[in-house]
Structures are given as C-alpha cells and as structure tokens.
Symmetry: C2
Subunit: 344 residues, 2 copies
C-alpha cells in the first residue's frame, strides 16, 4: 500500500529502545507499564505515524477488528439507520463494519453466512430482522462460536444477545392516540407474517384496542407485506368496504404512504376524512403531504447498542458496558395525518 514503507512495530521498538512486546502493550492499553516507558513509546508512535496492521494483529490474536452487519431487509432506510448506529460505535472502539446482505429465502443462506464469518474471522455479527429471527442460523452461529447480537421485537434469546424494540407498547400508544381522538371504526394493515414485528404489532394493537373497550374485527384487518404497493391495495379494500374506517393504522410507513396515495386517488381528504398512522418514522414520513404521524423506532440507537454489546467481550470499560440499553420504546411522532373523525 505504501511505497514509503509504513512503520511497523519493530520500527517503533527500535526507536523507543524497548522490545516489541512493550510496544504491543501500549497498543493494547495493557496495565503494568511504567509511566516513563509509556510516554516514550507513545511519542515514537506519534513521530513515526505508526498504526498497527490489523491483519497481523488479527492473525496473531484471532481477532479481526471486523464486525459484520447481516441483513435481508427490503427497506433501505432501516438499513441505513442501522449502519449509522453501528458505525458510530465502531469508530469509538476501533473496529470496522463489513456489510453482508443476504437472501433469507435461499437454501444456503446459513452456510454462506458461516463461511463468510469464518473466512474473515468476524469478531461479531449484528443481525437485523428478519435474519435475526432465524433460530437455525443462530444455532449455527453458536456452533462456530461466533458472537452475535440480534435486533428483535421479542425476548427470544439470552439478554446478552438481543436488543429489543417493544412493538407492543408502541402500538398501545397509537391506540391511545386514536381513542383520544374519538375513532371507533379503525382499520389495520398488517405486515408479512414472516416478520415477528408484524405479529407483535397486530396482536399488540388488537389487545390495546380491547383494553380500551374497542375491537379490531377481522374485516378491518388487511394483509399487507410492508410495501407501498400493498399499502395502496389494502387501503382500497378497506375504504371500499360497506362501512369504511375513519382511521387506518398501517404497521409500517411504506404501507401508510400507500394509504395516503390511494386516499388521494379516491378523493378522500387526509386528515379530515381519514386519519392515517404509520410506523417507522422513515425519511419519507415527513416528506409527504400531509406529513405522516408515526412512531420513531430509534433504529440507529438500537444498532449502536447492539454493537456496544457485541464489543463488551473485548472491552473492559465498565462505564461503557453499564450504559447499554437492551430494550427500546418507540416514540410517538405526531404530524398532520391524524384528526378527529368527521361526525363526532
């Protein structure tokens, strides 16, 4: 990479007149170094503009300083946020992020992930839904002794391995809002059943409505798949029913955006004729008219905490470890797509 040869640990050792083991000690922040030696070595490191070769470190210590983000998620906004959070923590702790999208419908997904992890000696894997929900993958990860943290909607693993988004409590906030506005005839658009979040949001919402004296009849539940297209279709179905709902809660923003489009096409005004609520707080939510009321899932923070949790193994900073938050509660973001129903 460098013509003007990059400095190595040997150069530093020679210049500082110590053994390379001592240099290694300062690189790795080990204890038991005299202040004088520490200072001397640090000075030389500066002078020589030395930075340790991570391949050599990795080969010797069987660490790679590489974390992997593994996902199969059609939603780029989710991925982007997740990367952002993971990256912040990586910088803090001197790691790098390798991204590894995959196809969870492929037969050999698990094998190819494992091969990838072993080839790069990945220090730890951050698993995003729906990949994070595959117990088969998890058991293979354990078999090769690979550290991992899963972003999930439910507590289905040891707490060392999950960061959880409490979708149930989140949808209960939404039902509060809807009930407070006076809506009684509410439609719901569900996500694909292959996603745990879709189930949690649906069951949580149904439960929350019942707790508040309302119901969510099956003919008010449309089956979407988290896409814009499905949001449009579900909205059409709900709004063309004999007694159309006065509010629609779509279990993600893409589908809610589809609801808005369909309503516009049908000449239905939002929010006066129809209240629409999404779930995600995607960038587009604030960039439509009317701006979409939704839930902020704090994906970036969740991903950062997942990364921090992954690195506790290599990090003896107690304060940092203690700062890890395992469960996240989404935040309600009120914008312009909700209002009281017309005849109330």
């Amino acid at each position: 990479m460098t013509p003007n040869k990059k400095a190595t640990i040997n150069d530093v050792a020679r210049h500082a007149d110590v053994s390379k083991k001592t240099v290694s000690r300062v690189i790795n922040n080990e204890k038991n170094i005299s202040a004088a030696t520490l200072h001397k070595v640090k000075t030389v490191i500066q002078q020589l503009n030395y930075s340790p070769n991570s391949q050599a470190r990795g080969l010797a210590s069987s660490r790679s300083f590489l974390l992997a983000m593994i996902y199969d998620n059609p939603n780029p906004d989710y991925i982007t946020e997740a990367m952002h959070g993971a990256l912040s923590e990586c910088r803090l702790q001197g790691c790098e992020l390798v991204i590894h999208p995959c196809d969870s419908t492929a037969r050999d997904m698990d094998e190819s992930i494992i091969e990838f992890i072993q080839r790069l000696k990945i220090d730890g894997a951050i698993l995003l839904p729906p990949v994070s929900e595959s117990e088969r993958l998890i058991s293979k990860l354990k078999a090769v002794n690979c550290n991992y943290v899963r972003l999930l909607s439910v507590d289905s693993d040891n707490l060392d391995h999950i960061i959880r988004c409490n979708d149930r409590q989140a949808v209960s906030q939404i039902s509060d809002h809807l009930v407070a506005l006076g809506h009684k005839n509410i439609g719901f658009i569900q996500g694909p059943k292959a996603y745990q979040s879709a189930i949690e949001r649906k069951e949580g919402f149904r439960q929350a409505l019942e707790d508040r004296g309302l119901t969510l009849p099956e003919n008010r539940v449309a089956m979407g798949d988290y896409t814009y297209q499905s949001g449009m279709e579900c909205a059409e179905w709900l709004l063309n029913s004999s007694r159309p709902p006065t509010a629609i809660f779509a279990s993600n923003d893409q589908m809610a955006l589809g609801v808005i489009t369909t309503a516009k096409k049908m000449g239905i005004n939002i929010p006066t004729d129809l209240t629409v609520i999404g779930f995600d707080d995607s960038p587009q939510a604030s960039r439509v008219w009317p701006a979409l009321t939704t839930m902020d899932l704090h994906i970036s923070q969740m991903s950062q905490m997942a990364t921090r949790k992954l690195l506790t193994k290599y990090n003896d900073d107690k304060a940092l470890s203690a700062s890890i938050q395992t469960e996240f509660l989404p935040t309600f973001i009120q914008r312009q797509s909700t209002a009281r129903p017309k005849n109330t």
Copy 2:
C-alpha cells in the same frame, strides 16, 4: 472463532499429500498444476470444508481482499444503490466491502481516510460524490499508492480511475421532453454548488434549452441544496413569481418531491397546472401521487463497474475487464407528473 478448529492450509496439504505451496496455487487459481494434483487438492478442500484465512493471506501478500466505499452523501437511497452494485461485484470476485462514511467538511477528513486505508490495507477505494470530487484527497491517495475509482459527473481523471455519469446528455433528454410538450416558461431548481453534478445539470440544461431556441433566465433558476425542504422553498419562490413557470425541473428527486408538496399546498394541480420533473429515480419517485417523471442514473451499475475496474489489477479475466463500461447515460423515466401546458 471455531472450537472444532477450522482447517488450515497445512491440514489440506497433509491430507492431499502435497506441499502447502501447491495448495496455495490452487487457492489462487495459478497455472502450472497438473490436472491430477488440482483435482486431489480440490477434493480435500471440499472434504475439510477449508476456506483460506484472509488475514493470513493478507499479511503475507499485502492484500486484504477488502474494498472500501467512501462517501459523504446525505442521500441514503444513493448509498444503498451504490452498495448494492459494489457488493454484487465483490461476491463475484471474493472480496468484501467495508463502508466508510465521512464528513467532507471536517478538516481532518483526508487524514482519517488515509489512516483507515492503511490500517486495513484496503485493496481499493470506491469514492462517491462529493468525496470523489476532492482533488486533495486524490493526491493523498496516490501518495500512499492506494488504488481508487471515482464516481463522477465529469472526466477529470485518468480513465482508469473514473466511472462517469453523463449528466449533460441526461438533462438534454429532459429538455427534449419539455419542449416536445410545448413548455416555454420553465423553472429550474439547482443543487448545491459544492456538487459537480449540480453544475453539470444546470449548465447542461441551460445549454440544451438554448440549443432548442429557448432560454433559462436567472429569475427562473432557484438555488436549492438537494433537500426536500429546499425544494419546497424554491417551488414557493418560483410559483409566486409574477409569471409562474408551467414546468419545473428540479435537479434531484428530493427537491422535486418538495415541489409536489408545495404545489399541493398551493392548490396547484400536477400535471395539469404544473409539470414537475426530478432527477435520480429514487424509490420515492414512484411512491408519490402523482408519480414523478425523472431520470434513472443507474447508480448500482456504475458502482459495480467501479468495483470491477478496481479489481482488474488483481484479476486476469480478460473478458471481465473488457466488459467494463466507463460512461453511463441516464434513462428517462416517464411517469405521471408531466403534461402539456394548459393554454397550448
């Protein structure tokens, strides 16, 4: 990583009864191996489920099999597409992608990028705009002998180092469309001058209109910054002028989306009262109502070609190298946001 010890080159050599150098030859697809030996080694590799340790390979050969994608781009859709393209090529050629967002306004951006590249011994860097436009960074990259390819709107480097999007020809297609529809009073929303693409699109559009006997007066040019917010503001300014344009071309989709929102707020109907054209073909373009007419930039393909170009150095597949396309012409995507002006 593995409790049940992963196989090494030595295990393969022993089982196949050859030297490890021979195993190395098959790993690296070298010539001059007898068919019998090749077969024998390959079989053992399969049996042992062996995959070479990329750290050891890297340390010995000063390669890392790691490519970096370096960017400072507020547009997640662009990044996502670029990653997708790069990743496809990485898989093809056995590399991995490390992502490295950065802040191009930071004083130490160049230094931190160089440090990162040297620390990981990155095999090559894919530079996205606007980072790709920094000549200062390029010269530092050259100084440390780091291979790179830039995604750019202009030819400002050796052809080995660029993949170009021909923004000028693209906007000329847009002016064709607008002129064919009969628009004469056209507004333009410019991107931030720090982006070369913003300049190319503006100058290209002005030139194209002039070539067709029209003009783009300065009072029809609004200064945006590629954000939705600026698109709204610019649209307000243009539409509140004494003789509002019958068509607005925004130099990216985010701003065009802002135009649509402002038009809606003002009660202006699209496309009958106002034609709107964007540039990017972002996912949202087809998810608003009316769906946005725009240009597909082929970012994923550009990024894939950039990656392929980067890897030619390590790859002696002539056919693959010959398949590299250096210049891309965006494709016009007609949707529902354009129509003839009202009184024509």
